[in-house]
Structure formats: structure tokens, C-alpha cells
Amino acid sequence: MSGFSGMQAWLLQRFSAIYIVLFAIILTMILWGGEELSYPTWVALFAQPWLQVMSSLFVVALLFHAWIGLRDVILDYIKPVGIKMLVMSAIVFMLLASGFWLLRALLLVEVIS
């Protein structure tokens, strides 16, 4: 029902957290050190393959991390199985939709540049 065993979820949450922090640091450093941000520089920045790969991985890590966190809240507080399933499905839908939208944005950068 939860998709993962207890330990898998726990490990995934921790590893994704590490990646999210690393990515956040790297991105902050790039944005801080680089030239002034405009639309063209932003597109050029994200059109670089290495940042594309890192950003895609970031999206995946973020989705897993968010899923495990929200799943934890649901497992803690929602008892009736029906409502539990409903809320979980709604969250999966929302996360997948956000994920695809983000990946689409990344792909569009490639096309535009």
C-alpha cells in the first residue's frame, strides 16, 4: 500500500534529502557567481546537459522525498482505509503532474535554445 518497505522508504528519504541539499547548494553557487539573470542567460544556463541531468534527478529526488514525507503524515493520522487511499491517490496524482510539468519545462529549454 505504501509502495516501499519501511527501510526502503527511510533510506530513500535520506538519500534524496542529501541530493536535494547538494543540488540546492550547487544551484545557489551558480546563480550567485554568474552574470545577471535574464531570460536568455537563464535558458542558456539550463540548456547545459550536465545541469539538465542534475535538474532531472533533482525533480525525481524531490518527488520521492515529498511522497515519503506526505505518506508518513497520512500513515500517522488517517485511519479509515478508504479515505487513506483517496488522499494517497490525490497526492500521487499531484506529485506526478508536478513532476511531468517540471520535466516538460526542462525539455522545452532544450528546444528553445
Binding site: G6, M7, L75
Partner: protein
């Protein structure tokens, strides 16, 4: 000194209520349990559990000014006046300060708190090296008073599915034991969404344990062992 005590007798009361008692001229170095025993002389209807009166049996766990502790090892001088006594939270009240600990014991039994082995019984004791024995320190001392599990929100929400800090400390005690042969089965049994992983490391258990044990650390050790087993 003033005491506000949670009272409930299912035979006569429809709802629990707080009853106030005054105990004049108490010695502040007196233990809380002695004060309650004095109160019981005045009002024999007051219900609570006690036995060894020295922090060994774990019978007199109660919520004192909002904190779970053992009345027999709590000095009055540590407490602010008025003293509010309530039953340990999260489990059904049988009467006054007496709770039904069946759910707590059920989770304790669920971790099979005994050595499991298939080897025939040896002629002498099952020996351990001092190092192996050291791993059990901080785990075997638990007296099952229930202060930790009844201070744990995860146990309050899911007392039937989450084992709770006390039972998990016991699980760790047998996982760490070099003489136990069921380590793998024990770890596999705990690897689901609820039994172990509802712990969110808020450490209420550590804060209240009257024996100063650290169930959160024990839970962390179980998680470590699980990862080690997988790798």
C-alpha cells in the same frame, strides 16, 4: 502542598473529574509515592498501582505535572505546587490513576522478548565475551513501566500498529544479543511501514525514561542493523 488528582470510577462516574487534596506540613524531601500513600489514608477510594517503591518494579508510572514519571523515585522538592496527577496518557483508564496496559504488553510480546535458538542447550551457560555483553548495556535495564510508550505521539495514534519505544528497546536488546539466532527474522519482522518506522525521532521517550535509557538510540541501532543486513 496541594494535589489535583484525576479521578474516575467507571461504576459510579459518567465522566472523569479532578479532585483537589491538601497535604499540610509535608517534608519536601519525601517521595511523591509516600505523599500519595498519605493521601490514601485520608481517602481510601483513591486508586493507583505501586509495589517495590524504589524504581525497580515500574508499577507507579503516572503523569505528574504533565510529565510521565515514577512516583516512587520523584522527590516532592522537584515538583511545582500544586501537583497535578493524571494516569499515563494514551491507554484506557481502569480507575483513577490505574490504566489498562494490555496494548502495551501486546506490543512487548510481539517482539518475542526471549532468546530464540535451535542449538541444544549447552552443559554450561551460553557464554559471551565482555564486548558482546557490553552491547546489551542500556537495553536490558528496562523495567517496562510504560512511561516512554505513553509519552509517544506515534504510539498514541497507532498503539495497535506501532510497537512503541519500550517494545522497540526490547527488540534491540535481542537483536544485539550474540546468543540469539533469530536476528534476521527479527529484522524482517520490523521492516514495514508501521512497527518501527512510525518513530519520528522526537525523543519524548528519552526525556521521560526513569531509568535514563535511550529508546531513540536503540531504534536507530535497529535501523542500522537493517541496512547492514541488506548490504
Amino acid at each position: 502542598m496541594k494535589f489535583n488528582i484525576f479521578r474516575f470510577n467507571p461504576e459510579t462516574d459518567t465522566k472523569p473529574y479532578i479532585q483537589s487534596y491538601e497535604l499540610p506540613g509535608v517534608n519536601p524531601e519525601m517521595m511523591l509515592l509516600d505523599a500519595i500513600l498519605t493521601l490514601k489514608k485520608k481517602d481510601p477510594t483513591l486508586g493507583f498501582r505501586k509495589s517495590c517503591r524504589e524504581g525497580v518494579c515500574g508499577s507507579d508510572g503516572m503523569n505528574v505535572n504533565g510529565v510521565n514519571r515514577l512516583a516512587c523515585v520523584t522527590r516532592l522538592s522537584e515538583l511545582s505546587d500544586p501537583i497535578e496527577l493524571r494516569p499515563l496518557p494514551g491507554l484506557p483508564v481502569i480507575r483513577d490513576l490505574i490504566i489498562d496496559m494490555e496494548q502495551f504488553y501486546k506490543q512487548y510480546r510481539a517482539v518475542k522478548p526471549y532468546l530464540i535458538g535451535s542449538e541444544p542447550e549447552p552443559e554450561v551457560e551460553r557464554l559471551q565475551t565482555p564486548k558482546q555483553r557490553e552491547l546489551l548495556d542500556g537495553l536490558y535495564e528496562c523495567i517496562l513501566c510504560g512511561c516512554c510508550s505513553t509519552a509517544c505521539p506515534s504510539f498514541w495514534w497507532n498503539p495497535d500498529k506501532f510497537l512503541g519505544p519500550a517494545a522497540l528497546l526490547q527488540a534491540s536488546r535481542f537483536i544485539e544479543d550474540s546468543r540469539d539466532e533469530a536476528t534476521v527474522e527479527r529484522l524482517e519482522q520490523l521492516d514495514d511501514a508501521y512497527k518501527l518506522y512510525r518513530c519520528h525521532t522526537i525523543m519524548n521517550c528519552v526525556q521521560v525514561c526513569p531509568k535514563e535509557l535511550n529508546p531513540t538510540k536503540a531504534i536507530g541501532r535497529i535501523k542500522e542493523r537493517m541496512v547492514q543486513k541488506k548490504l
